[in-house]
């Protein structure tokens, strides 16, 4: 008999501690946050639309990106081994981590081996996912974020709320307060002008770059045939981290592979336009193992699974692994705009988070996330690698544990609706049952609607009137003719 071991689910910051509707409640009520998110997402959305519309073969690029990622997913084991061989031949050391805990352990041990008690960090989703900063702190190693927004979030003892713009939930006055409070070398007369804030961060970070002996990064892409890692960024902090320290440790999700160097041609067009709304990002760093006498001489790559094999095993949900973390889906999502990133309880917020987090953890552990969407489809249209997010959301909802009362109601309704005879009788019953009430409401208010109902219907009537059945159903009108 064949027995297969189900791939392990992932750990780290990818679970909602409370259901999404509960997590979203304070954000929806926070007018400052709503204003910050409204302004920021719409600004990026507009920039993206402008630079995407000017590319005549954008749809062909999306198809190419989607096809390359599907190919990677089909032969991931083979490509991973090819990457390991290429990177090792180039002088890097490749490590394999089953889950978040193992990945953290490897990075802690590598850092300890250098004798350093601090690391500088390039913005990286994978290290946020595995909660590396916390693991390093527990081992007595200080991790300094060097991306401006990550720095703001770290100084504010907060967590990122957006993939591209981790501090999107703050406005500049709030950032000024955080800097004044937590950045020891911030100028006393620091204003809330963006240039002044950036200058304060630059001076603060410059000292870190020059003293750091170990850097930790993620990677946007890992090239199987050459063993090259690629980091795409805007501020130049990444370039500093990737070139100045002696030791460089990169934590890379296994899905980040691309088969060949030439595949970058597609993704370096798709990513910046979808992400920051720029034709090309300011800094793209690539490194292949060790270059003697130039840059880090001690180069490590930690390949992390953390639930990705489980995602890979599901042919419908698998395209979630195609994500290139551009966050275009967040910026067009009406739910993200109102709920904010923290409501998703995971480092992956927004539509992509709603399909990725539950798959990494197993749906039962994140059961509210597949429902955190109206299925409006704006995310699918914006996705540069054409992940059909609504389709995957619906797919995951089939696996979610359903509340007993809801399941019972759905089954009864299905039993009624599967039979034309029962359905016609139910329509008649609803129409006659609601008849007197409808007539009364119509006489009193001029409309056959209800304004206030007890729980659970109050979820509807709290903000909308509810229509009552019409005096005559359509089929009754039809039969009367």
């Amino acid at each position: 008999m064949n027995s297969q071991v189900a791939p392990a689910t992932g750990g780290g910051r990818i679970r909602t501690p409370l259901p999404f509707p509960t997590m979203a409640k304070p954000a929806v009520a926070d007018q400052q946050l709503r204003a910050n998110l409204h302004r920021a997402t719409r600004t990026i959305r507009g920039k993206r639309a402008r630079v995407v519309d000017e590319v005549p073969d954008w749809e062909a690029l999306r198809d190419a990106g989607s096809a390359i990622k599907a190919d990677v997913q089909r032969r991931l084991p083979e490509l991973l081994e090819q990457f390991e061989a290429s990177a090792t031949a180039a002088g890097a050391t490749v490590h394999w981590a089953r889950d978040a805990a193992e990945a953290c352990r490897i990075v802690v041990e590598l850092t300890r081996a250098t004798g350093a008690d601090e690391v500088v960090k390039v913005k990286s989703m994978a290290t946020q996912e595995i909660e590396l900063n916390e693991a390093l702190a527990a081992a007595g190693i200080a991790a300094y974020e060097t991306d401006l927004a990550e720095l703001i979030v770290q100084l504010g003892d907060d967590s990122p709320s957006h993939i591209l713009v981790p501090a999107i939930h703050y406005n500049r006055t709030q950032i000024q307060e955080i800097f004044k409070r937590r950045m020891p070398d911030a100028p006393a007369d620091l204003s809330d002008e963006p240039a002044a804030l950036a200058e304060a961060a630059r001076a603060h970070l410059r000292r870190r770059f020059l003293s750091a002996r170990v850097a930790v990064s993620g990677a946007n892409f890992a090239i199987a045939d050459t063993g090259t890692l690629v980091v795409v960024e805007s501020e130049g902090n990444g370039r500093m981290c990737l070139t100045l320290p002696e030791t460089l440790i990169s934590v890379v999700g296994v899905e980040k592979l691309l088969p060949t160097f030439t595949d970058l041609e597609v993704f370096l067009q798709l990513l910046p336009r979808s992400s920051t709304g720029e034709r090309m990002n300011p800094y793209t760093s690539m490194w292949t193992g060790v270059t003697p006498g130039d840059g880090p001489q001690d180069v490590h790559v930690v390949l992390v699974d953390n639930g990705r094999s489980a995602v890979l095993a599901d042919p419908v949900g698998r395209p979630a692994l195609s994500c290139i973390r551009c966050s275009a889906c967040l910026n067009v999502c009406p739910v993200y705009e109102r709920a904010g990133g923290h409501a998703y309880g995971s480092v992956y917020p927004g539509p992509i988070g709603a399909i990725l987090s539950p798959q990494l953890t197993g749906v039962a552990d994140n059961a509210s996330l597949p429902y955190a969407s109206t299925l409006c489809g704006a995310c699918y249209d914006a996705c540069p690698v054409k992940i059909n997010i609504p389709e995957i959301l619906v797919h995951l909802r089939q696996q979610a544990p359903h509340p007993v009362a809801e399941r019972t109601a759905m089954r009864v309704l299905s039993w009624v609706m599967r039979s034309p005879r029962r359905w016609a009788a139910a329509l008649r019953l609803a129409r006659t049952g609601a008849g007197p009430l409808g007539a009364y409401r119509e006489k009193r208010t001029g409309a056959r609607t209800l304004r206030r109902l007890p729980w659970p219907a109050s979820a509807w009537t709290r903000s909308r009137d509810l229509p009552l059945p019409a005096p005559q159903t359509f089929r009754e009108w039809w039969e009367q003719q």
Partner: protein, 236 residues
């Protein structure tokens, strides 16, 4: 051509006027419409809420009832999208009838080749393109093309028109705070438009937005666009 009307469960019980309007438009254009009484519901609520197994009997019933027709017209973008987008994946024998299932504007423009249905409706109207019609069916400006031909109509722009109203089926009940926040913004854009009538291709979305507009006594009426296309100015 044998045309059948799939009324949808929501329209049958709460919005019969929309079905009556579709029937009148097609008859006015010289077509015969059939209403097979064996029809029930497309199963969208079940399938999209995570009860695909419970939706399957409805999918099979739809195929049994409608497979013999040349065209099925549905006055709902999202039910049409359920049938065209999800049925072939859920139940391959549904593929053929799914391809012959049309939202009203598709039937009128693409199948029957009509844009002027002889309507008159002298009121300021704004149009909300509902999400599944917009992004799953790619209706584009078909409903607006039909509305532009209506005598006397004053079509006004809706700000952020393509943004979801926050209904999302059971989303409105499962996520009432976020849904209400989206609804509030949609209602504000509708009021700003200056329209007296909000038109759309889905009575479920219109029940949501209309329910919000009524709650705030905005004086704007939510109306399926079929009812505008059916209006002739003469008493019906």
């Amino acid at each position: 051509m044998r045309i059948a009307l799939f009324i949808t469960c929501v329209n049958d019980i709460a919005y019969p006027a929309t079905g009556i309007a579709v029937t009148r438009i097609l008859r006015r254009l010289g077509h015969t419409v059939d209403f097979p009484t064996g029809q029930t519901c497309c199963g969208q609520m079940h399938a999209n809420t995570g009860y695909r197994a419970e939706a399957m009997p409805m999918v099979r019933n739809y195929v049994d009832v409608f497979d013999g027709y040349d065209a099925v017209v549905v006055p709902s973008g999202s039910c049409t999208a359920m049938i065209r987008d999800q049925y072939p994946r859920m139940h391959p024998p549904a593929t053929s009838v799914a391809a012959r299932t049309y939202e009203l504007s598709e039937l009128l423009i693409d199948v029957l080749g009509v844009t002027d249905v002889g309507a008159e409706f002298p009121e300021p109207v704004t149009y909300h393109p509902t999400c599944h019609g917009l992004r799953l069916l790619r209706l584009g400006d078909r409903p607006l093309t039909l509305l532009r031909q209506v005598r006397g109509i004053d079509l006004v722009e809706l700000g952020d028109a393509e943004e979801c109203c926050g209904f999302g089926g059971t989303f409105a009940l499962k996520n009432p705070d976020v849904s209400t926040a989206m609804l509030t913004d949609k209602c504000a854009r509708v009021r700003e438009s200056g329209a007296r009538v909000l038109a759309a291709a889905d009575n479920s979305c219109l029940a949501h937005i209309g329910g919000g507009l009524d709650r705030h006594r905005s004086g704007v009426r939510a109306l399926h666009y079929a009812e505008i296309l059916a209006a002739t100015g003469a008493p019906s």
